[in-house]
């Protein structure tokens, strides 16, 4: 060990690397842990459930282990009509979201309200639970908007997942949680970001997300490389299911210049009436249409209620 003083060198290396890890991981962890879940954040977390990427309960990313977002129009207990409200239904056996299992994740204020008034710690995976988002009379620190919190309606109102699902029409049930799994699995986020930019994007893509908008969500799937428009608020720009259906089946039907791939395979085998979808025939007719041999494109088959495309459309429409 002459002029090359390796012992000093390796210590200096450890020091430098350790210092950089502390600054980039340890220091910001305080700021990140202090984030307080906003209403948007609570909605996203409750909608997408425990995780939307690979998980043991859904190894092939089929959209399993996911909650349903249900528009409740009638009181599930009494059957009386009520002011419509969104409920997040976790059928028995569905993993609860991170904010329920690790309440600190919700942030100061929200955690306390959700635990004390919302009784979320009483929710059990085995028996399932129904959650609501409530507004309190406290204010968010940075923007003068009311602080929202989670309520476990199974504990506070006695709503069980089965009762809520039974009284809801199918059109009031959003499979947005499973849809997020589709979004991740199909790699939508390789071309569509979920992160409008503070500096430029407001007018076209809407406002950028705020700090509390992601608590408990995983993966956030921001995306990094845009080849199509940002989708964070796409549901506010376009909420037409018919348009979405045509666009997913073959984007060129509604947008001739689109470079989006066709997602017709998400329709599965059969359409809404249980009839087998003849993709080959559809494609050849579409080619004829494209060549000008016929004047109208073939009809897009209506998707089945339990098809993967339904989940994905529900997710996209729900991006408000």
């Amino acid at each position: 060990m002459n002029f090359r003083e390796y012992r000093i060198g390796s210590r200096a290396f450890g020091l430098a690397f350790g210092l950089s890890m502390s600054i980039t991981l340890f220091f910001p962890s305080f700021d990140l842990a202090a984030s307080i879940s906003s209403e948007v954040g609570l909605d996203k977390q409750l909608t997408s459930g425990w995780d939307s990427g690979w998980q043991l309960a859904d190894p092939l990313l089929n959209g399993l282990n996911k909650p349903l977002k249900v528009l409740v129009r009638k009181d599930p207990k009494s059957g009386e009509p009520m002011e419509p409200v969104y409920a997040y239904v976790y059928p028995a056996g569905t993993s609860l979201p991170n904010g329920v299992t690790h309440t600190a994740n919700l942030g100061k204020g929200v955690e306390e309200l959700s635990v004390k008034q919302g009784r979320i710690t009483e929710a059990r995976k085995e028996s399932g639970a129904v959650f609501l988002i409530k507004k309190s009379d406290q204010l968010l620190t940075f923007e003068d908007k009311p602080l929202s919190y989670m309520e476990n309606a199974t504990a506070t109102k006695g709503w069980t997942p089965d009762e809520v699902l039974k009284q809801a029409a199918d059109s009031d049930i959003l499979h947005a949680g499973s849809g997020k799994t589709m979004f991740v699995r199909e790699g939508c986020w390789w071309c569509h970001t979920l992160l409008p930019e503070q500096t430029q994007d407001w007018q076209v893509f809407g406002a950028p997300p705020m700090l509390g908008d992601f608590n408990g969500e995983s993966p956030t799937a921001f995306g990094s490389d845009r080849k199509g428009p940002d989708l964070l608020h796409v549901g506010s720009r376009n909420a037409s299911r018919e348009w979405m259906m045509l666009h997913f089946f073959n984007p060129r039907l509604v947008q001739p210049h689109s470079i989006m791939p066709r997602f017709d395979y998400l329709w599965g085998e059969v359409d809404a009436d249980g009839k087998k979808i003849d993709f080959k025939k559809w494609r050849s007719e579409y080619d004829e249409y494209r060549e000008g041999k016929i004047t109208t494109p073939p009809d897009v088959p209506m998707y089945a209620k339990d098809s993967e495309i339904r989940n994905l459309i529900d997710f996209v429409i729900n991006l408000k």
Binding site: D31, E186, G187, T193, L195, E197, S218, G223, S258, R262
Partner: protein, 469 residues
């Protein structure tokens, strides 16, 4: 043949076997990776090209291309370089050829498995750390840890007192890769969510590029240029500046990938300044290598390995100018999330680093197989197809990115941006396809070298022999 050696005694395995297997695996993965890239690019130019099957959907193939290139081509070429350069610099043999061979086989198996699953859509949904966590652990256990053990043990058992610059980088990078892999995937093991997950995703992505790919590629140039030209490395001191600035500055700017996310601004300020400072290692590296070339510039024309290396080094200049400045508050808002970034990523991986690794693989395979390159013509064709293909890709994507940036600022309807980008998408596909075809030529050339290259006499280096075809 690999099977025969896997269970042989370490002493019975010919020197360099592991490196040779790694070298050919790397070239094959390069072919697969760029083939996928070319296929994906075709889909962006012509969206109805191969359509309607889940397995051939763009969203299923994009990440396979990226990871095949990073963990198949680049990292395996690195492993190849480490397996033969580390022992040479320590005047010794590789600590364990057997471990190297097992490492190579397990690497191929786990990568093939991981990519197949990824192709099916089994993903964690996190860019660059797309593998689900069990596979991440497999990568750590079968890929990075055995490699690090072999490199470290070889350095510890060296027969010199000093350690040459290249080996500092190899030792540090193999160590940092393990840490980065294990720490960067924490959100998956422990289900960390929200902005923490997003930030850690980019912490991983940044560091795997900055602490693994960049330094190891540079370390290869530190070996190839002095070795082939015969010149001493210009300055041991600049080597210090380079090494320490990589460790210090490259490990910190992770947050600059998320300049538009609501991360704390102080973190962005910090990361962004550090991000510009990646120019420090770049300045040190480029100046050291180019100064080492003094008096031997004829080899830039005459010798294939030197040409590949120097082109890689020269590409480090635009790479770091872009990388340093595009992430600052002043510039990032214009080009963030556009094709500019795609061009930049390819400048880093297909430009800068691929050229350096290609030189290492050329030189290493010839040295270890003791055979002169089969055909200089094919080598030249490989070089020019790669360079022109890459340049076409880079220039077209940079222009596309600037169009996209302008579209973003002036709030042009997105579809008009898509229309304006179309010609560049076709150019990108042509460029990518040239790169893909060049790898096929390369594989053929190396295969023929193994079979029919002129035998190099004992005690001579491949670059001392004249090319024959």
């Amino acid at each position: 043949m690999i099977l025969k050696y896997l269970f042989a005694k370490n002493e019975a395995i010919p020197v360099g076997s592991a490196a040779i297997f790694f070298g050919f695996s790397a070239i094959i993965w390069f072919m697969i990776g760029t083939g996928l890239g070319s296929f994906n690019a075709a889909k962006l130019a012509f969206p109805d090209f191969v359509t309607g099957t889940e397995m051939f959907a763009f969203g299923h193939m994009r990440q396979v291309h990226v990871l095949a290139v990073i963990f198949g081509w680049i990292s395996m070429a690195f492993a190849m370089a480490m397996m033969y350069i580390t022992p040479i610099l320590g005047n010794t043999r590789l600590w364990s050829e057997k471990l190297g061979l097992w490492n190579c086989m397990m690497w191929n198996v786990s990568l093939a498995l991981g990519l197949t699953l990824l192709w099916m859509g089994v993903t964690s949904g996190r860019e660059y750390s797309d593998f689900p966590w069990p596979l991440d652990l497999a990568v750590a256990a079968f890929i990075s840890i055995p490699l690090a053990v072999n490199v470290w043990m070889t350095i510890i058992k060296r027969r010199t007192q000093g350690i040459y610059t290249t080996n500092w980088f190899f030792a540090a990078s193999t160590f940092m890769l393990i840490i980065v892999f294990l720490v960067g995937n924490l959100p998956e093991y422990f289900h960390l969510t929200g902005l923490t997950e997003a930030y850690m995703t980019w912490w991983f992505a940044h560091n795997v590029l900055g602490l693994w790919i960049t330094p190891v590629a540079a370390a290869i140039a530190y070996y190839v240029i002095p070795k082939v030209t015969g010149n001493p490395l210009y300055s041991h001191r600049i080597g210090h500046l380079h090494f320490w600035s990589i460790v210090v500055f490259y490990s910190t700017p992770a947050a600059h990938h998320l300049m538009s996310a609501p991360l704390p601004e102080w973190l962005k300020s910090f990361a962004s300044v550090e991000g510009v400072l990646i120019l420090v290692p770049a300045i040190a590296f480029v100046s050291n290598i180019l100064l080492t070339m003094q008096g031997k510039w004829n080899m830039f024309v005459e010798n294939l390995e030197v040409r590949f290396t120097v082109v890689g080094v020269l590409l480090a200049i635009p790479l770091n100018m872009q990388g340093g400045f595009q992430q600052t508050r002043s510039i990032n808002w214009y080009i963030h999330g556009t094709g500019w970034m795609v061009a930049h990523a390819h400048l880093a991986l297909l430009g800068f680093s691929t050229f350096l690794e290609a030189a290492a693989v050329y030189l290493g395979l010839q040295t270890l197989m003791k055979r002169k390159l089969y055909s200089l013509t094919l080598g030249n064709l490989h070089f020019w197809l790669l360079l022109i293909g890459f340049s076409t890709y880079w220039i077209s994507m940079t222009i596309a990115g600037l169009i996209q940036g302008a579209g973003k600022i002036y709030e042009v309807p997105y579809i008009d941006v898509v229309i304006a980008e179309h010609p560049y998408m076709i150019a990108r596909w042509l460029g990518g396809t040239m790169v893909f075809s060049s790898t096929i030529l390369w594989l053929y050339n190396m295969w023929m070298t193994a079979r029919e290259g002129t035998v190099i006499p004992v005690g001579r280096m491949p670059h001392e022999l004249a090319y024959e075809r």
